[in-house]
């Protein structure tokens, strides 16, 4: 009898299989989920000091400004996002701090003041110099974290027309493949090379002996 499999049944069954066949699920696999679920406001406080937060906010709005009917990075909660992920990962915290520290140093040295207090045109100029500075990773990491803070926001997705389909929910509608689109190709001559039988046989029958 054909079994009536639903996604839920499949998932339940697969989960059961994991526990039965694989033994206890490791703490390492569960841990990230717990960390995610256990996020709370107090964990994000004190990740960066006031000056760092200010630099980060001003930087992200130069990297992704409000323009073309789109909000800036800080307007969609970019600062809160970065503070949260920095609170969850010491590596992320360290990398962001290193980048904004390098930007702050460049700003003071070449523009005579804190990055956040520069005029808008000077900020852009400072960021261009920062982008050209070695090591490249200082700029690239910061830019990429800011892009992450922006393009993981469902409110941004709505504005750019992106639909996210989680694999435990329904997927998009797509029209089935139309085999008639291959009519021309079906008539093409064979494209693969035949291998003569005499060449094809090279003593493999003996090899299991």
């Amino acid at each position: 009898m054909k079994r009536d499999w639903t996604r839920r049944k499949f998932l339940e069954s697969a989960l059961k299989g994991s526990f039965v066949a694989g033994g206890a699920v490791t703490a390492e696999i569960i841990a990230p989920a717990k960390a995610h679920a256990g996020h709370s406001a107090e964990r994000t406080c004190g990740v960066y000091d006031e000056q760092q937060r200010k630099t980060l906010q001003v930087t992200m709005d130069e990297i992704i400004p409000a323009s073309d009917d789109m909000p800036s990075a800080s307007e969609v909660g970019g600062l809160e996002y970065l503070t949260r992920i920095a609170g969850e990962s010491s590596r992320v915290k360290r990398e962001i701090a290193k980048s904004i520290g390098a930007l702050a140093a460049l700003s003071r040295k070449q523009f005579g003041g804190e990055f956040a207090s520069l005029a808008p045109a000077e900020r852009v100029e400072a960021l261009k110099k920062f982008e050209a500075q070695r090591p490249k990773q200082n700029f690239v990491r910061l830019r990429d974290y800011i892009y992450e803070a922006y393009y993981t926001q469902p409110k941004v997705w709505k504005l750019i027309g992106y639909s996210f389909y989680a694999t435990n929910g329904p997927g998009p509608h797509m029209k089935p493949f139309d085999p008639s689109s291959l009519e021309r190709v079906r008539k093409m001559p064979k494209l693969y090379r035949e291998v003569p039988e005499s060449t094809a046989r090279s003593g493999h029958e003996e090899s299991n002996g």
């Binding site: 697969a14 990429d144 190709v185 291998v195 046989r201 003593g203």
Partner: protein
């Protein structure tokens, strides 16, 4: 502490280990499999969460073990002129957990590279030898596709109909039609309809971040549930330190660490190694003894040599119309083998496949997409992002990499995994043939994108994501130049078998998983047929 002796010990539970274990269990063997990873829980897959793309930069589901650093992973050192980024997954199902599911077959000519084109080596088997195992593997895994493709030998009706090719497919195939070039809808190990107790694909995309519903055929949802029901034993978080041998030079079993770091020995009459093209030579080289001072099955010195992977070049065409290429399964919607077979007028031998591919979401696009061209920051950001997303079609060039002895996997003298086992070091440089072939591929991909109407083309150039790990314990009839024979039996050790990407004599220009599965089923039958010799 020794454990009950098995008929067959299989090391590794991925595309090869799953197939070998299930088939031998069906035939009647008592199989024990050791897997260093764990079962993946579907509800932990990033594909179920909005932030899934973050895993491309960091996290426990990154494709690289060096980034992922799960406790079951081992570090991989890469060096040479073109050090590759070696990608794999360690879990029940191995790298089928994160592969795209693309399921092409080798061509007949791929088994006769030396005879036909004067390069590499011939395989000791033919396409015809493997054909029925390809079919068997397709049935076990579940494949969506369409028979009748003129670029490949005729094949049996596919178990489920083709997956949708989407707007992406409709647009790019017009370019192929305009040029009169060949294309075909791909075989994917992603079922389009309910099949064998698994649901049909719901077209979410994100297949490389784990298929939570089991439509993509990773061996943890195909071979393994059946093998376990038939009595196979699968021990997870079992990290093998070395294969042990008896006084007569026969494999005795394997010594492994359990999840608590306690050492065990699993003995067996026959040992099968299926740890992938990097993990397999690493284990053999780590299995030194008085009888095998240079590593097990390595009297020829060929273990670890001839490492191959497929060089890639991604070209992203930007189109005026919305493409929505993030919709639909990530397995390749369509492909072209217009330039697959050798034509020496092109200035190189062998060839490449075009994949007409989907993309991830907006974050990956902003980061640079597959062409590694980040969307600029500042005043131009939104304008450029809006132009590219969701307007991109990717044509991937995947070329054949010829076996070269200098490209190799060896043991790193310093780096070790968390159990103190020496880590592998991969040494790799492209051949001139690969460079020419990939340059040609880039030019032809550009032509087809332009023919399809691309208004801008972003080109990654030649890059080295080593998803397909091959050649490091290769098959051959000559014990001096190969590690295993045509039935995957080690030339040096009569009860040791090696089957996975490492067994490949040459790499062809197609994804290897379908061929790994077929070889594994054939290897299992060879082992069973000779069961009287197990001792």
């Amino acid at each position: 502490m020794a454990e009950e002796r098995a008929d067959v010990l299989v090391i590794g539970s991925g595309a090869a280990g799953g197939a070998v274990s299930k088939h031998l269990t069906d035939l009647g063997a008592k199989v024990v499999c050791l897997e260093q990873g764990d079962w993946m829980k579907p509800d932990q897959y990033p594909s179920m969460r909005p932030g899934y793309e973050v895993q491309l930069h960091r996290g426990a589901f990154n494709f690289s073990p060096n980034v992922r650093r799960r406790p079951e992973d081992y570090p991989i050192v890469a060096t040479g002129h073109n050090p590759p980024d070696v990608l794999m997954f360690n879990a029940v199902g191995g790298s089928t957990i994160h592969y795209t599911g693309h399921f092409p077959r080798f061509h007949p000519s791929d088994f006769r590279v030396k005879t036909l084109d004067g390069v590499g080596e011939d395989w000791p088997i033919t396409y015809q030898d493997l054909e029925r195992y390809y079919d068997m593997n397709d049935r076990e895994m579940g494949v969506a596709g369409l028979a009748g493709d003129p670029a490949n030998p005729p094949r049996s009706p596919r178990p489920t109909p083709p997956l949708p090719i989407g707007i992406l497919g409709d647009v790019i195939t017009k370019g192929f039609d305009k040029l009169g070039w060949y294309w075909w809808v791909s075989d994917n190990a992603i079922i389009s309809r309910p099949y064998d107790g698994r649901p049909g694909c719901d077209l979410h995309g994100k297949c490389m971040f784990g298929c939570a519903i089991g439509s993509k055929a990773s061996t943890d949802v195909t071979y393994w549930p059946k093998a376990l029901r038939k009595g196979a034993v699968l021990k997870t978080r079992a990290r093998v330190r070395e294969i042990t041998v008896d006084a007569h030079g026969r494999a005795r079993g394997a010594v492994y660490y359990d999840r608590f770091g306690k050492l065990h020995e699993q003995q067996a009459r026959v040992v099968v190694v299926s740890c992938n093209g990097v993990g397999t030579p690493r284990l053999l080289l780590n299995s030194k003894s008085n009888l095998f001072p240079h590593g097990l099955a390595n009297s020829s010195g060929m273990v670890g040599k001839h490492f191959m992977f497929h060089p890639f070049r991604f070209l992203e065409g930007v189109f005026e119309e919305r493409i929505d290429s993030y919709d639909g399964p990530f397995g390749i919607p369509a492909f072209s083998q217009q330039f697959y077979e050798t034509d020496t007028r092109r200035g190189f031998v062998r060839g490449y496949t075009f994949f007409l591919e989907r993309s991830f979401g907006p974050l990956h696009q902003a980061w640079g997409g597959f062409s590694s061209r980040p969307v600029p920051w500042g005043a131009e950001h939104h304008r450029v992002m809006r132009r590219r997303f969701p307007h991109i079609i990717r044509v991937t060039v995947m070329g054949e990499d010829l076996p070269q002895e200098m490209n190799r996997v060896e043991l790193d003298p310093k780096v070790k995994d968390s159990s103190g086992i020496p880590a592998p070091r991969v040494v790799y440089s492209y051949s001139n043939n690969s460079l020419k072939l990939m340059e040609h591929g880039g030019q032809m991909a550009r032509r087809v994108l332009e023919a399809a109407g691309a208004v801008e083309i972003l080109d990654s150039g030649l890059i080295s994501p080593a998803f397909h790990l091959m050649g490091t314990a290769r098959m051959g009839n000559d014990p001096k130049s190969s590690v295993v024979n045509a039935w995957h039996r080690a030339h040096d050790v009569p009860n040791l078998f090696i089957v996975d990407g490492s067994s490949f004599t040459t790499g062809a220009a197609v994804n290897p998983t379908s061929t790994i599965g077929a070889l594994s089923l054939r290897c299992a039958e060879g082992i069973w047929d000779r069961r009287r010799e197990w001792s």
